[in-house]
């Protein structure tokens, strides 16, 4: 194991009397794809949002290299190289596709290489170029998801956080989405993805962390055969 690019340590997140994340610790290695799976309310999305600075943890740390992220604003974290594709896409429906993409550049740390990144994103998601002058709200769900990922990628992030990227999409569209994620992985982008589709995620990711009740209850290696009974037990308790 080399030096982790992101280190989450002993993270606790409370919403009033409810504890959403309990003493959560894990690390992401450079270029690694890690899945966060588990039942609703397990604390998966809370974990992503806390890494992004949108929730403040009660205690614990999130370190990007040797930089502590807890206490920093989301925009600062974005500028440090973490991009979030939020649940439900959250594209700007009234803006054109090109304007949506341009908004992604605000998180870029360096201006050079933008043209090349744009060309790559366009090759990855041709609709981004094809419908560039169209209001993003007119795109289909799958196209909006592609745009949301393209907008995150144009910031040239070190780490890509994906929250339920396949939510509400037809199976064939999901297959295309995972093909694109495979291309993104080849570029060396570290990916942390929250997904409901446990099997698909476990097969795609290098590791998958199964969460329940705010804790990691099982770690699945990508090359291990899945044991449905073990997963069911992790999801619903023994």
């Amino acid at each position: 194991m080399g030096e982790a690019v992101l280190q989450v340590g002993e993270l606790d997140v409370w919403f009033g009397p409810l504890q959403a994340v309990r003493k959560l610790s894990f690390a992401l290695q450079p270029g690694e794809v890690v899945g966060l799976v588990g039942p609703n309310g397990a604390g998966k999305s809370t974990t992503l949002l806390t890494i992004m600075g949108m929730n403040q943890p009660t205690s614990g740390s999130v370190r990007l290299g040797d930089r502590e992220l807890v206490g920093l604003s989301p925009e600062t974290i974005a500028q440090l190289g973490i991009a979030l594709v939020p649940e439900g896409r959250r594209i700007y429906a009234e803006f054109t596709v090109a304007e949506n993409l341009r908004l992604g550049t605000f998180g870029r740390r360096q201006a050079d290489g933008l043209e090349a990144d744009l060309a790559w994103v366009n090759s990855l998601f041709p609709i981004v170029d094809e419908f560039r002058d169209r209001p993003a709200g007119q795109l289909s769900g799958g196209q909006q998801q592609q745009l949301a990922i393209a907008r995150a990628l144009i910031a040239r992030p070190q780490i890509l956080l994906l929250d339920e990227p396949s939510l509400g999409l037809a199976p064939t569209i999901v297959d295309g989405l995972f093909d694109a994620l495979a291309e993104i992985r080849k570029r060396g982008v570290t990916i942390l993805m929250v997904e409901q589709r446990a099997q698909l995620t476990a097969e795609f990711a290098d590791r998958s962390l199964v969460m329940r009740g705010g804790e990691i209850v099982l770690t699945l290696a990508g090359d291990e055969p899945l044991d449905p009974a073990q997963i069911a037990s992790a999801y619903f308790g023994a």
């Binding site: 009234e94 007119q138 799958g142």
Partner: protein, 341 residues
């Protein structure tokens, strides 16, 4: 594409020029009402720069208007009159004598500086909290100006202020704020602010510092409102703090809502149409002849009618007369719908 974009500026400017031209052909009180419409529209466009781009309602912009009006008025009222009727003013204000243009620049600068100072704490707020905080600003500003006779006329009238806001100045003033508002809208900063308006969380995760962008727009908008105040002072020839207070706050917001809060075109259309109606109703409250009929409305009709129109627009066309969209290119073809997937 370039022509389409240019049209978003040219359309409003042509409409303003047309109103200015028609107004210049009138005379008497009607001529004054036309000039008023142009100046009120300047305030609305200034308001739009912040409210339209940020989505945060400001009840406090008239604070910057009153500051601009009093600053321009104090700076241009003849020194001998100030020495006689406003002798409590700070000595440097008694001595201050500026030209018309200089007084407008001063009004804009003071409006911007005041907006910046007020914005530093308030722009951290969002939604209703921000609206209430800006309302507090207009209440505080009004009370300070009404009671502190070292900086203005206090409860008295300030004047005579040179009435230099003729048709040319009123039209140029409005076109200037439209051009600045359009120019700002095209910037990266305004795009960031509109992204934050659409989805604050998504904008932040794209690296947008919402506080900084709101403060910048608030300051620019405050400077434009200050300029509008200067134009207003030079239109009226006399200013009291009550003239630039809650009525003006209500009516300018109503214009923005009726026109369509999210676009420059909406601000211009809302301002010109409602200011025109407002001017007509104000005349009708004092009896006016239309096509041989005498119309004499009871006092207070003006605000009642405007209130009903605002409520009706909110009910039946919530995004305003223009739908909150910029003026579309008249020669555009309809685009095809994206295939599903």
């Amino acid at each position: 594409m370039a022509a389409r974009r240019a049209w978003e500026l040219i359309g409003p400017v042509l409409l303003v020029a047309a109103v200015g031209f028609v107004g210049s052909l009138t005379s008497g009180s009607m001529e004054f009402q036309f000039r008023s419409v142009l100046v009120i529209a300047t305030i609305v466009v200034a308001l739009h720069v912040f409210v339209g781009n940020s989505g945060v309602i400001s009840f406090g912009h008239v604070s910057f208007v009153v500051l601009g009006a009093i600053a321009a008025g104090v700076a241009t009222t003849p020194a001998e009159i100030k020495a006689r009727s406003l002798s409590e003013l700070f000595p440097f204000l008694l001595d201050l004598q500026l030209s018309n243009i200089e007084s407008l620049v001063l009004a804009a600068v003071l409006g911007g500086v005041f907006a910046f100072l007020v914005g530093v704490p308030i722009m951290r707020l969002s939604g209703l909290q921000a609206g209430i905080a800006t309302f507090a600003v207009i209440i505080i500003t009004n009370n300070v100006f009404r009671n502190w006779d070292r900086i203005g006329p206090a409860a008295r009238a300030l004047g005579p202020i040179p009435e230099t806001t003729g048709f040319l100045q009123a039209t140029i003033g409005l076109v200037l704020v439209i051009v600045v508002a359009y120019g700002y809208q095209r910037t990266r900063m305004a795009r960031m602010l509109r992204a934050a308006r659409e989805d604050p969380a998504a904008a932040q995760s794209s690296g947008v510092n919402i506080y900084r962008q709101r403060l910048l727009a608030f300051t620019l908008s405050g400077a434009m409102a200050g300029l509008s105040g200067g134009l207003l002072a030079h239109l009226l020839g006399s200013v009291t703090t009550e003239v630039v207070f809650l009525d003006l706050t209500f009516i300018t917001l109503a214009m923005l809502v009726v026109g369509g809060i999210g676009s420059l075109w909406g601000a211009v259309v809302g301002a010109l149409s409602i200011a025109g109606l407002n001017a007509f109703l104000a005349e009708a409250e004092r009896e006016v002849g239309v096509f041989g009929f005498d119309i004499d409305l009871p006092s207070g009709t003006r605000l009642v009618v405007l209130g009903i129109i605002m409520a009706a627009v909110l009910l039946f066309r919530p995004s305003g007369l223009t739908g909150g969209r910029e003026l579309s290119w008249p020669f555009a073809r309809r685009g095809r719908v994206a295939p599903g997937g």
